[in-house]
Symmetry: C2
Subunit: 301 residues, 2 copies
């Protein structure tokens, strides 16, 4: 594909930095700028060679950009889009495309109304990749290799813009999938947001019980794996839980219903019911274990 003349990353953390690094490594961008609230991260990004320059002023950072990637924390995406709206209507910005990397898409798509006419050039996206580490220092060009990126273009999205963003993500080694906004949020609620809620809840239940944290002394490897995601960033997951509230509650209601049935089976000593559930779950888990993505991701799913 034709290289970008100017790429601007808003929020230079693990995801934004890794995307910048991946595109630079493949020679797909002539100049990469960044904007953010913490100058230290931006300066570090320049030191690392991930970006070529930065500004703390949004208008300066996005001026003349071919592509703007909104990679700020979930809770700030709406405010950033609102600020971005008027800037994209300035002279010389008529070609600027915008995408984002937030874990929840419904609230982002709603907020994209603030982009006004530029809304057609906004392609909502979500790379399902991450690392136990966060921040620009953890960025690496191969972060997305072999991982999925979900794009959720809406009726307002120019199909050419969506196609272009899809092609760009493919260059990072990612497998790009397109689905509806509601479908995305429901699928992620089930496979990521609900498991995080359950893991946090279980660890807090045990730690705050009368036995206290002493109980963890007797935990084995199964418990360690099961609760690994409870070590994820609380701020990020609070924001995701609230941003995807409706779909998360629907997934939780479903889960509670199944768990209550299992509870009744244990109470009744109904081994057949337990076997049926355990066998179905094992079969499903075994079938799809090989299809699941390879590296442990915690901070951004």
């Amino acid at each position: 594909m034709k290289p970008l003349q100017r790429l601007t990353i808003l929020g230079l953390g693990l995801i934004g930095g890794s995307l910048a690094a991946a595109l630079k490594q493949r020679g797909l961008v002539a100049e990469t700028l960044a904007w953010g609230r913490r100058e230290a991260s931006l300066a570090r990004g320049r030191e690392l060679g991930v970006i070529d320059g930065y500004s703390l002023d949004l208008a300066t950072a996005v001026a003349g950009a071919d592509l703007v990637v909104v990679a700020t924390p979930t809770r700030t995406v709406e405010a950033v889009l609102a600020e971005l709206g008027p800037l994209l209507q300035q002279p010389g910005q008529a070609h600027t495309l915008v995408t984002d990397v937030a874990s929840v898409k419904g609230n982002v798509v709603a907020a994209a109304a603030a982009l006004g006419p530029a809304r057609s050039r906004f392609v909502p996206g979500h790379p399902i990749a991450g690392s136990e580490r966060s921040g620009i220092a953890a960025a690496r060009p191969d972060l997305f290799r072999g991982h999925r990126v979900i794009l959720t273009p809406t009726e307002a999205t120019d199909p050419a813009a969506a196609e272009w963003v899809e092609t760009l993500w493919r260059q990072t080694g990612a497998e790009v999938v397109t689905m509806g906004v509601e479908e995305h949020d429901a699928v992620l609620a089930a496979t990521s947001h609900l498991p995080h809620l359950l893991a946090y809840s279980l660890v807090d239940t045990l730690a705050s019980s009368s036995r206290g944290e002493a109980v963890f002394r007797y935990a084995a490897g199964g418990f360690r794996d099961f609760t690994r995601i409870a070590s994820s960033d609380p701020v990020m997951w609070r924001d995701i839980a609230l941003a995807n509230r409706r779909a998360l509650l629907a997934a939780l209601t479903d889960f509670n219903h199944h768990l209550a049935e299992l509870q009744r089976a244990v109470e009744a000593g109904d081994g057949d019911h337990l076997m049926a559930v355990f066998e179905r779950a094992k079969a499903a888990r075994d079938r799809f274990a090989s299809q699941m993505q390879p590296s442990a991701t915690m901070s951004q799913e």
Copy 2:
């Protein structure tokens, strides 16, 4: 310690086989016999050099044994103890000690009444170790190294017998801890049995939803780790859930209470409550991550 003249393993799977291999490797046993229902496993154990001989007849296998280790599946321990009772009252068996390796101790201790006077020579135990693999072919002498073994002697247990079994387990490289039967079952319900129930239940909920197993395509590493224990042996976990029914239900009730609070917080958009839970959980999980046992254990916890 003085070597055993004769060790008899009842049920030659991963755990029984690994204990036999560990004791043999350290020269702590002159002769190891085994008993089981499946001759193939016993023959394989002899081929592998883990045992020196075997019998399909329980009386023959335990005759003259210094130590009998009940390592059969959870659901058969009670029947084996009942059969063992009269044999331990035979001439020449007055010195025979008995221990077991089952994951739940309450039902085993209750069943130990069948041992009659030999009950004082029974030391209930539970090595918190395992592997994704099972069966005698997966046995290895270092399986218990660095892992915990919990012993739950009762008032009926001869303290000298408990001390002797403790010393023996230490020789395998395990760290031995003693606790009450109820305490053991409550702790294991919380850290192992409940997590298995939740993992099985979540995977089955998602797999049986309208989206079906397609949903797993978008799962990331966090989900893979969270659901790893749902690939465990359904028969073993059905038996554990039923054997530890009371403690498991108590742990589940506790968990449900906390999860309902979290659900209300999500419904109400109460970010402060979410942050408080997520932060406490992360802090507890991080503090104890380093104390948790090193290798992934699935089949026997």
